[in-house]
């Protein structure tokens, strides 16, 4: 896990730290975690104008996409945010996703997982498999082509 975290820090300029504010709602802030290799934790400097996150359970998301919302990389670290006398550090507990965009083989595995989980969702609830209105989907894709042309023209 630690090697993956170091790889993610190298691949991304910043991370989104999410914890909870004093009302119990999720509260997120962009930050630049620094690896504390000796203690296998991350030092975090919270911006003075966005320091509402309470110590406790927290997560760090590092993600990226290209201009066409593709080449997706999504990596989440679950853990605990600890406040010290002069700052904060984050103790990782587990991770989800991958630090860098998926290879072709990884993408196929992801599609397989999505299908498997979708089938399980239907089966566990005895939901009859709904049909997809493919003609409507294709009609919207044609509209999306026009949307892209218009956006480029603008």
């Amino acid at each position: 896990m630690w090697d993956e975290i170091l790889d993610a820090l190298e691949a991304h300029d910043s991370a989104l730290l999410t914890g909870f504010d004093e009302n119990g709602f999720p509260f997120s802030v962009r930050c630049m975690p620094m690896a504390d290799r000796k203690n296998r934790r991350l030092t975090i400097e919270l911006p003075r104008n966005a320091d509402q996150i309470q110590p406790g359970k927290a997560s760090l998301l590092m993600h990226s996409h290209n201009e066409d919302l593709w080449d997706l990389a999504q990596f989440l670290i679950r853990g605990t945010l600890v406040r010290t006398g002069d700052g904060h550090y984050f103790v990782p507990a587990s991770t989800i996703g991958a630090p860098r965009p998926a290879s072709g083989l990884d993408a196929i595995k992801t599609l397989r997982t999505i299908r498997h989980r979708g089938n399980a969702y239907l089966n566990h609830r005895n939901i009859e498999r709904p049909s997809v209105p493919w003609d409507d989907i294709h009609r919207l894709q044609e509209r999306a082509e026009e949307w892209r042309k218009q956006r480029k023209a603008d």
Binding site: L16, H65, L69, L111, G118, N119, D136
Partner: protein
């Protein structure tokens, strides 16, 4: 349970532009063990109903399970890649989520969401329906549960880098 929406939310133009133009928001829900789980998702800001629309495939149901346990949710707008905006405000929306009860494949009434937020910005998504094999294998991609976020507070940092004091408005749009 009833809901009541106010007719509009008054936001600065550059904040509304962020809500309209960023390709993704980072959506945070509360995981089973109480840890906030955050993932990038496409979201539509709907001025007319003063709420936010998103959805998830039943093949990626984590958000659904989390929101059934706790409806508290936040949407962060921090990554302007692909939006055409330079140094826009950072925006954080906190609120409460309402989930549709049924798995839905119809796109009636949500055409703008699919065209302007999914299929338009992400041309590669077309592969999910590009041939008979993909239509058979990935039909679950189009089986969706829709989520409406009723905002309770919207915060923003005008400079986009936290150097300025956070601005915020309270939105009393949700009556449970």
């Amino acid at each position: 349970m009833g809901t009541e929406t106010q007719s509009s939310i008054e936001l600065p133009a550059d904040v509304e532009q962020v809500l309209d133009d960023l390709l993704t928001a980072e959506v945070s829900t509360v995981g089973k063990d109480g840890t906030p789980i955050t993932w990038p998702v496409v979201v539509q800001y709907r001025r007319e109903s003063a709420d936010f629309l998103l959805c998830t495939s039943i093949g990626m149901p984590g958000k659904i399970f989390n929101l059934r346990r706790s409806p508290k949710i936040s949407l962060s707008y921090t990554d302007p890649t692909g939006s055409g905006l330079a140094n826009p405000p950072i925006v954080l929306v906190q609120g409460t989520a309402e989930l549709d009860s049924e798995v839905r494949t119809s796109v009636d009434g949500v055409e703008d969401f699919w065209v302007n937020k999914v299929m338009g910005p992400q041309p590669a998504s077309k592969m999910m329906s590009s041939n008979p094999l993909m239509r058979w294998y990935m039909d679950v991609y189009y089986m969706r549960i829709y989520i409406t976020v009723m905002p309770t507070r919207i915060c923003w940092w005008p400079s986009g880098d936290y150097s300025e004091v956070m601005q915020s408005i309270e939105v009393n749009s949700y009556v449970g």
